[in-house]
Symmetry: C2
Subunit: 272 residues, 2 copies
DNA sequence: CCTTGTTTTTCATTCAGTGAAAAGGGAACA
DNA sequence: TGTTCCCTTTTCACTGAATGAAAAACAAGG
């Protein structure tokens, strides 16, 4: 065929999705050639696929001929975990208006923290991660909370990872982190002090659902105000329990379905 | 072939996207059979496509075996118009915290209003449309604003449509609506009184960008408080101009690329 | 005018995708 | 336990939809 050797095992679907997800790596509008390169497909194929995606409004074209994700995909995605996000949103706002500090709620997805909703001031500079952003668990207060209250095997698995350093204050030792998690459970909240980015501290409390850890609610404050952080604990605690009450009725099914991994089979137990 | 007569002209991409968008019509998790029916493809094909989409995390599976859109597509979609949404968000919050009424910002997409961001109280009942929702232009205050300040041909085109009735107070006469739009421009804001849903009123002001209408900022209030609506005008106006200042630097390109339609060619002008 | 970098179109080739049909669950009921 | 009903999953022979190298068209500099 003119098409010579097809790359084996690459389905059309695969290629389409490669094109779509190409926009994850680069946030700016992409040229066709770039898309093709990132997705790892020939330009002509990319051309056709991008054309179809554009017809479906999943991709839109900027006036200079470049491509970016389209409105339609945003609309579509609004339905993902809507019930949880819509419910949680005003509570995060409450935290913000009572603390006047950047407030957020996050869940665990795999070994990362995923920010579901964030409320911030119009003057405040954007943080390391906005809504939809991810950060490691050991560098954030919400992450520590989500890990501390998680089932033992999750915690153990995470402690076994190579903990990446984000700043010079980042906790990278498994033992140290374990102690930090114990402390978190003991006092019911977690903090960070410049562990994710220098100059910012954070504090977070757990949000439970059906007896298990579901999310973490927290705030971020500039280092110079770190002293005042614990002052906001009552607010966090109170809002958290109101949120727990509000989400209690929501079936787990319709909450955000995250990657929680699978527990080890472990037929022969540790003590066997 | 075993597959008999393929439905002609249906590309794989088409089918994949039909599957994805199937989740727009029904908000609940869908069974494979349902997806196949909605997307208009055979079950076995749906099965394969859904399988691939699931591998890519664009679709996730609930414990009862049904499918729903996955976290990944939400994350992906966070990049759409992010700069505009992130910028606008705290301003909408400002409106909310100053008015204590459900506040929102919307843009025009085609002949509809698209809500970009909405801030509401934890007690307030969900409105007709949440973030990412659409409503007609003539039944909402934001819609009236977006239409009133739009280029003449857009307005003319909309007035030519068959204006659907939402409540018994909905304006459905072209002449009436034209007068309403004139009024809107004259006084610099628009209102509705039970025109979209009985019992709720709304008020909105324009947000300009590079001299053109870009968005509309508004609030929704229950009918019994409708008298107090105009009391919030100063807030809306003030926040709007602060938002205009904040968005002025953002290049139009990276704002949300909506369907604005094409002006009529109209080589022979009306008066020719 | 040429060069360099794109985007777009073309087209002979063939294998990835196809979908009817059959088999495999599993829940509800008798 | 068997039967019914509905949904999911697997199978498989067949072929036209998808393919991608290559060439053409376009755009922006130099």
């Amino acid at each position: 065929m003119a098409g010579g050797s097809r790359e084996a095992g690459r389905s059309v679907t695969d290629k389409v999705l490669s094109v779509l997800t190409a926009f994850e790596s680069e946030r700016r509008p992409l040229a066709l050639t770039e898309i093709a390169a990132i997705a790892g497909i020939p330009v002509s194929t990319a051309h056709r696929l991008v054309g179809e995606l554009t017809e479906w409004q999943l991709i839109s074209r900027t006036s200079n001929g470049r491509y970016q994700l389209g409105l339609r995909i945003w609309e579509l995605a609004q339905n993902v975990g809507r019930q949880l996000r819509d419910t949680a949103k005003p509570f995060v706002q409450d935290v913000f208006s009572l603390s006047r500090e950047t407030s957020h709620i996050a869940i665990r997805d795999g070994n990362e923290v995923l920010y579901i909703e964030r409320v911030y001031d119009s003057r405040r500079v954007p943080q390391s991660a906005g809504t939809g952003g991810r950060l490691p668990m050991h560098t954030t207060a919400v992450g520590k909370v989500l890990l501390a209250y998680e089932e033992p095997w999750v915690r153990t698995a995470y402690l076994g990872l190579d903990l990446q350093r984000a700043t010079d204050r980042t906790i990278t030792g498994a033992r140290e982190l374990a102690a930090e998690l114990d402390l978190t459970r003991a006092r019911g909240y977690a903090t960070t002090h410049g562990e994710q980015s220098p100059g910012t501290c954070s504090i977070a409390v757990p949000v439970f659902h059906t007896g298990r850890i579901g999310a973490a609610l927290g705030i971020v404050v500039p280092a110079e105000r770190s002293e005042t952080m614990t002052k906001h604990l009552p607010v966090l605690k109170a809002v958290s329990s109101r949120l727990e009450a509000a989400t209690a009725r929501i079936p787990l099914e319709t909450l955000i379905k995250a990657h929680h991994g699978d527990p080890p089979k472990d037929t022969e137990s540790a003590g066997s």
